[in-house]
C-alpha cells in the first residue's frame, strides 16, 4: 500500500480535481472562508434584512388569517367543490414538496456522485428543502377539514379503535413526506455541527459568552478531532445514501396519489419519473432564485460562482426537457391507448376551458429553458434569474393543470364544472410564500448559509499533498520528500528525516 505521502498519479480522483478550474474563486484562505460566511451571523442586524423580514411576516400573517378563517368555517371557503375536490391546496402541496427535492438532490445525490461544486450551495439548498416541506405539509393538514383529528392519519390508537388504511397512497404520503422532512432535518443538522463549532469558538474569542453558550449547546462539543471526522464522514455518507432513494420515493409516492386513481389524465404509469424530474426542475429554479439574490446581497460571488450557476442551469435544461418530453408522451399514450376518456381528457387539457393554463405551462417549462443551450445565456445572471422565476410559475401551473383539468370534466357531463379560486385560496398560496421567506430569512440571519467546513475541504490547499513539491502541481513529485515546507524556524526539512536517526 502506498503511503499517503506518495502522490498517487492522476488515477486519484480527489487529486485530479485540483487540476480543474478552482471551485471557489479569489484565492481564498481557510480563514477568509470562515470570515466571509460567519460574519453575516455575527454582525448587527442590517436594516434591509429587517425590512424584508417585515414583508415576509406580513405574508405569514396572511397565512395565519387564512388558516384561522378556514378552520372556523370549513374547507367550503375555498373554491373547490364536486367534481373539483382537489385544487389549489393539492397544487400548492405538490409544488412545495417538489421544490424541496432540489435541496436533497444537491446535498445527497451530487454528494454520492462526487460533484464537489455542490459544497457552495448545499447548505442553503437543504434549508430550502426543510422550509418547503414545512409549507407543503400545511395544505394536506388543513385540507382534511377537521384538523383537530388529523392524528387519525397516524397509526396511533384512537377513540374509533380503527387503524389507518395502509393500502392507500394518501397514507403512504403521510409517511413519505413526514419522514422526508425528518431525515432532511437531521441531515442538515449533522452538516451544521462543525460550522456551529466555528461560530462557538469565534463567539468565545470575542467574549460573547451567551452566544458562545448557545452555539456550544448546538455544536455538541465539536472539536474537529480526526477520530470524530471519521465517524462523521461515514454518517454523512450513509445519510446521503439514504436520502437518495428517499427523495425519489417521496415524489413517486406523491404521484401515486394521482396515478393509482382511475381519473383520466391521472391514471398513467409515467407519473413517478415525470414527477421526480419536475420536482428537481422546479427545485433547482428555486435554488437559483435564492442563490442569485443571496450571493449578491452577502458578497459571496467567490464562493457561489458563475460556474455554479451554469451547472445548475444545465440541470434545469435537462430536467425541463424531460418534463416537456413527458407532456408529449402523455398525449401519445392517450391517442395510442384508444381509450376515448383518456383522449378527451388530453384534448380538453390543451384546447378546453383551461387551455390558457396548459399553454402557460408548456411555454414556461418546455420552451423557455431551451435558451440554456446557448452558453452565453447559461452564464448570464440576469437571464438565469428571470428564467428561474418563469420555471417556478410554469411548474406551479403544471400541478394546477394536472389536478384541475383532469377533475373538472367528470365521467358524468351533468357534473362538469369550472373551478374558480376564492380569495382564501390565494391567501393560503401567498401566505405559504410568507412562511417560506420568513424561515429562509431567519436562516440567512442566524445560521452559516454556506457549509464552511465543506468549502474549506475543496480548497486546493486542503489537500495535504498540495504542500509536497511544487505548489499545486504535484505529479511526479512528493515521494514523501519535501523541501518546500519549512521546519519550525523556517529551515527546510524532510518529513522522514527523523526516521533515519531513530
Amino acid at each position: 500500500m502506498a503511503t499517503p505521502t506518495t502522490l498517487a498519479p492522476a488515477t486519484d480522483g480527489v487529486y485530479k480535481t485540483l487540476e480543474d478550474d478552482p471551485l471557489v474563486r479569489g484565492n481564498l484562505s481557510f480563514h477568509d472562508v470562515t470570515e466571509m460566511v460567519a460574519v453575516h451571523t455575527e454582525k448587527r442586524t442590517p436594516a434591509a434584512w429587517l425590512f424584508w423580514f417585515a414583508v415576509a411576516l406580513g405574508g405569514l400573517s396572511i397565512l395565519g388569517l387564512s388558516i384561522a378563517y378556514l378552520v372556523w368555517n370549513g374547507v367550503g371557503v375555498w373554491g373547490l367543490n364536486v367534481p373539483v375536490g382537489w385544487a389549489f391546496d393539492i397544487t400548492n402541496f405538490v409544488f412545495w414538496v417538489g421544490i424541496g427535492h432540489a435541496g436533497t438532490l444537491i446535498s445527497a445525490i451530487l454528494f454520492l456522485f462526487r460533484q464537489r461544486w455542490r459544497t457552495s450551495i448545499n447548505r442553503a439548498a437543504e434549508a430550502m428543502t426543510l422550509f418547503a416541506v414545512a409549507c407543503a405539509l400545511i395544505f394536506p393538514t388543513f385540507h382534511v377539514g377537521r384538523v383537530w383529528v388529523v392524528y387519525w392519519m397516524l397509526p396511533i390508537p384512537n377513540q374509533m379503535n380503527m387503524w389507518p388504511q395502509f393500502k392507500s397512497p394518501l397514507l403512504w404520503d403521510v409517511f413519505a413526506v413526514s419522514i422526508y422532512g425528518t431525515v432532511s432535518l437531521i441531515f442538515w443538522y449533522v452538516g451544521l455541527i462543525p460550522d456551529l463549532g466555528t461560530l462557538r469558538d469565534r463567539a468565545a474569542q470575542v467574549g460573547r459568552t451567551t452566544r458562545a453558550k448557545i452555539m456550544g449547546f448546538f455544536s455538541l462539543g465539536w472539536t474537529g478531532s480526526n477520530r470524530h471526522w471519521r465517524h462523521y464522514e461515514r454518517a454523512y455518507l450513509i445519510l446521503a445514501a439514504l436520502s437518495t432513494p428517499l427523495v425519489l420515493s417521496v415524489h413517486s409516492v406523491v404521484s401515486f396519489d394521482f396515478a393509482v386513481s382511475i381519473v383520466p389524465g391521472w391514471h398513467t404509469t409515467i407519473f413517478p419519473p415525470y414527477f421526480v424530474a419536475g420536482a428537481i426542475f422546479s427545485g433547482f429554479a428555486m435554488v437559483m432564485t435564492l442563490m442569485i439574490v443571496a450571493r449578491r446581497v452577502y458578497g459571496l460571488e467567490n464562493l457561489i460562482t458563475v460556474d455554479h450557476l451554469e451547472k445548475m442551469n444545465i440541470v434545469i435544461l435537462v430536467t425541463g426537457t424531460i418534463v416537456g418530453f413527458a407532456y408529449i408522451t402523455e398525449f401519445f399514450i392517450a391517442w395510442y391507448s384508444g381509450v376515448i376518456y383518456e383522449q378527451f381528457a388530453f384534448r380538453n387539457r390543451a384546447f378546453g376551458p383551461y387551455a390558457w393554463a396548459y399553454w402557460i405551462m408548456m411555454t414556461c417549462n418546455l420552451i423557455s429553458p431551451q435558451v440554456f443551450w446557448v452558453k452565453r445565456f447559461r452564464r448570464s445572471i440576469r437571464i438565469s434569474f428571470i428564467l428561474s422565476i418563469v420555471v417556478n410559475i410554469g411548474m406551479w401551473f403544471e400541478r394546477f393543470v394536472i389536478i384541475v383539468t383532469s377533475l373538472h370534466r367528470d365521467y358524468l357531463p351533468s357534473s362538469w364544472d369550472y373551478f374558480v379560486p376564492t380569495i382564501w385560496d390565494f391567501g393560503m398560496l401567498i401566505g405559504s410564500f410568507g412562511l417560506f421567506f420568513t424561515l429562509f430569512l431567519l436562516f440567512l440571519r442566524f445560521i452559516p448559509m454556506v457549509a464552511i467546513a465543506e468549502v474549506k475541504g475543496v480548497l486546493p490547499q486542503a489537500d495535504p499533498h498540495f504542500y509536497d513539491g511544487h505548489h499545486g502541481d504535484g505529479a511526479g513529485e512528493g515521494e514523501g520528500f519535501s523541501l518546500h515546507r519549512p521546519g519550525p524556524s523556517g529551515v527546510p526539512y524532510r518529513a522522514d528525516e527523523g526516521d533515519d536517526k531513530r
Binding site: 499517503p4 481564498l28 484562505s29 481557510f30 477568509d32 470562515t34 379503535n161 395502509f166 413519505a176 419522514i179 425528518t182 431525515v183 441531515f187 443538522y189 449533522v190 462543525p194 462557538r200 469558538d201 474569542q205 456550544g216 455538541l220 462539543g221 465539536w222 472539536t223 474537529g224 480526526n226 471526522w229 471519521r230 465517524h231 462523521y232 461515514r234 454518517a235 450513509i238 445519510l239 439514504l242 436520502s243 428517499l246 420515493s249 409516492v253 401515486f256 464552511i452 467546513a453 474549506k456 475541504g457 490547499q461 486542503a462 495535504p464 504542500y467 509536497d468 505548489h471 499545486g472 519535501s482 515546507r485 521546519g487 519550525p488 523556517g490 526539512y493 518529513a495 522522514d496 527523523g498
Partner: protein
C-alpha cells in the same frame, strides 16, 4: 465488533490530557502524524477545520463501525413496518373485503421502505454521536486559546498523556522536531505552554509563520 466498541469506550476516558501541538497546514500535520507513529506513539489525534484526506490511514484508523449499526437500525425499521401493517390488518382489526387476502405485501412496500430509511437515518446520527462521545460539553482542550482556531484555520496534533511513549519534555521535543509551531500541555487545570528542550513556552519566541500558513496560493 463488541471488542472494538469496548476499546472505543475505554479510549475515551481522560483522553484529552496530554500535549497539544499546532502545525502550519494539513500537509505538515499529516507528515507529523506519520513521523510520530514511526517513533512509536500510538495515542494520537489530530484536529482540523475539515477532514483531511489520508489522515485516517496516517493515523492507522480502520473503517468506521457505523455501517453495522445502521444496518441493524434499518432492519429494525423494516421489520417494524412489516409488523405494523400485518398486525393491524390481519390480527387486530381484520376486515374481509370481497374475500381478498387480509394482508398483501405489495402495497406494504412503501411504508416498509420509509420506516427503514427513518430508522437507518436516526441510527446513523445517533450512532455517530455515540461513537464520538458527543455531546461533550466539557473538554479540557477548550482551555487552550490557540485551540479555538481548530474550527477556523488551525491544525493541531494531540498526544495523549497515557501514551506509553509519552514524556512531557521529550514528546514536546519530538513535536517541535516534526515542525510544531507551538506546543501546550493541556490537563484539567488548563493549558500550559511548553517550550523547546523542556523550557517555558513563554520564553520561546514564536516562530515566524511560513509564507503559506495563511493558505494563500
Amino acid at each position: 465488533m463488541l471488542n472494538a466498541l469496548r476499546s472505543e469506550m475505554a479510549a475515551r476516558a481522560d483522553q484529552h490530557v496530554g500535549l497539544l501541538a499546532e502545525f502550519s497546514d494539513p500537509g505538515a500535520l499529516l507528515h507529523a502524524v506519520e513521523a510520530l507513529r514511526k517513533r512509536g506513539y500510538s495515542r494520537l489525534d489530530t484536529f482540523s477545520p475539515f477532514p483531511i484526506h489520508g489522515m485516517d490511514r496516517a493515523m492507522g484508523l480502520g473503517p468506521s463501525l457505523l455501517g453495522y449499526l445502521v444496518f441493524g437500525g434499518g432492519a429494525t425499521g423494516a421489520l417494524l413496518g412489516f409488523l405494523l401493517q400485518w398486525w393491524t390488518s390481519h390480527v387486530d382489526y381484520p376486515i374481509n373485503i370481497s374475500n381478498k387476502p387480509l394482508f398483501a405485501w405489495e402495497p406494504s412496500i412503501p411504508i416498509i421502505f420509509e420506516l427503514t430509511v427513518l430508522f437507518s437515518a436516526l441510527t446513523a446520527v445517533g450512532g455517530m454521536l455515540a461513537l464520538n462521545g458527543l455531546p461533550k460539553p466539557y473538554n479540557p482542550l477548550f482551555f487552550s486559546d490557540r485551540f479555538a482556531r481548530a474550527t477556523d484555520d488551525g491544525f493541531f496534533l494531540h498526544v495523549q498523556g497515557r501514551d506509553p511513549h509519552f514524556d512531557r519534555d521529550t514528546t514536546a521535543d519530538d513535536l517541535f522536531a516534526e515542525g510544531a509551531l507551538a506546543v501546550e500541555y493541556v490537563d484539567h487545570e488548563g493549558a500550559h505552554p511548553v517550550g523547546r528542550n523542556g523550557g517555558e513556552g513563554a520564553s520561546t519566541p514564536e516562530p515566524a509563520a511560513p509564507p503559506h500558513t495563511t493558505g494563500k496560493i
